[in-house]
Symmetry: C2
Subunit: 199 residues, 2 copies
C-alpha cells in the first residue's frame, strides 16, 4: 500500500469532515477534497465506515505524537499547557467545524463498537495524562496534598468534554469555560500558599 | 386540538426515542408506540422535525415543573439534590437510552436552529438554577465567600454535561462522575469550617 496516498486521503477526510459534517459525508466528498477519483478511495478503503475507523486511528497517532510537547516545565505549567491546548483556539484545539463533526461521530458511538472503542482510547490517554500531571504536582508539593489525582483528573475531563459540547451545541464561548476551568485549577489544586499568592 | 391525544403522542415519542434512537426514528415508530395510525400522528404534527420541536418544548415544561422540588432545605442540601437529580439513577435523571438519543439530537443542533434554541433554553434554566443555589449559599455563609456563583455554576454545568456525554459515548460510570463532582462541591464550595468537618 502506498502510504503517502493513504495519508493524503486521511488528511482530505479531515477537511471534508469540517466542510460537510459526518452524517452527510460521502466517499465522493472525500475524493473531491483529495483531488482523486472515487475508485482510488475505494481501492484503499472499502466503505465510509472503514475509512472512518482508519481516520480515528490516524488522529490518535497524530495527537499522541503531540503529547510530549506538554512535558517541559513544572506540573503547574504542564497543567496550564494541557488546559490551554484542550480549550483555547491558541492551542492546537481542533477548529469549531471539526468539533462539530466530532460530536456527530460521538453520537454514533453508542451504536458502533469500533467507534466507541477508539473514542475511549482517546479519552483514556487524555485522562491518564491529566492524572500524571496532577500526581506529579502533589508529589512535588506544588498541588495540595489532599488532592486525589484520579478524582481531580476525572472531574477535569468531564468539564473539558462538557465545555466542548456546550460550545458546539449551543454556542457557549469556550473562553468562558476555559476561564472557569483554569480558575478551578488555580484555586483548588494548587497548595494553599501558592494559590493565595495568585489572588 | 385534543390535548390528551397530543400529550399521548409526545409520551409515545419519548418511549420510541429510547427504543430506536433519533437518527432511525420514524413517524411510524411513534404511531406504533402510541397505538395510533400514522394518519393521526400526521394530523397533529406534519413532520418528524416539527413533532420533535414540540417534543423538546414538552420536555422543557415537564422539567421546569419538577424544578421547584429542589427548593426545600439549605443551599447545601439544595445543591446535593441538584447534583443527585442530574447525575444519579436514583434521581429523576433520564435513563441511559434517553441520554443516548439526546446526544444524537444535540449533535444535530449545530445544523438546526430550532433544536439549538431549545437546547440552549434547557441549559440556561439549569445554569440559572445552579447559580441561584450557589449565590444563596455564599449569601448565608454556607459556601465560601470567595466563590463566584456564575463561574462555579458554569464549571458545574460543563462537568455535568461532560459526565453525561462520557457515560453515553464511552460507558464511563456516572457514579464515578457523580462522586468526583460531589467531592468538588463538598471541598471547594463549602466554607472552610464546614468543609473540614466533613472530611
Amino acid at each position: 500500500m502506498d502510504d503517502d496516498t493513504a495519508t493524503e486521503i486521511l488528511e482530505a477526510t479531515y477537511r471534508a469532515l469540517c466542510r460537510h459534517g459526518y452524517a452527510d459525508l460521502t466517499l465522493k466528498d472525500i475524493a473531491d477534497e483529495a483531488d482523486r477519483s472515487k475508485a482510488v478511495i475505494h481501492y484503499y478503503y472499502d466503505s465510509k465506515e472503514n475509512l472512518f475507523i482508519e481516520f480515528l486511528d490516524f488522529l490518535y497517532e497524530r495527537y499522541t505524537a503531540q503529547l510530549p510537547a506538554v512535558d517541559g516545565g513544572t506540573p503547574r505549567e504542564q497543567l496550564d499547557t494541557f488546559l490551554e491546548t484542550a480549550l483555547t483556539d491558541e492551542g492546537v484545539a481542533p477548529a469549531q467545524e471539526f468539533q462539530t463533526a466530532l460530536l456527530e461521530v460521538t453520537a454514533q458511538a453508542p451504536y458502533n463498537d469500533a467507534i466507541r472503542m477508539r473514542l475511549t482510547k482517546f479519552e483514556d490517554i487524555f485522562f491518564e495524562r491529566a492524572r500524571e500531571i496532577i500526581a506529579a504536582g502533589v508529589e512535588t508539593g506544588e498541588f495540595d496534598e489532599t488532592v486525589e489525582p484520579a478524582v481531580a483528573a476525572e472531574f477535569l475531563m468531564a468539564a473539558i468534554t462538557g465545555a466542548h459540547m456546550r460550545r458546539v451545541a449551543s454556542n457557549h464561548s469556550s473562553e468562558g469555560s476555559y476561564e472557569a476551568i483554569a480558575q478551578y485549577a488555580e484555586r483548588h489544586l494548587l497548595a494553599d500558599e501558592l494559590s493565595e499568592a495568585t489572588q
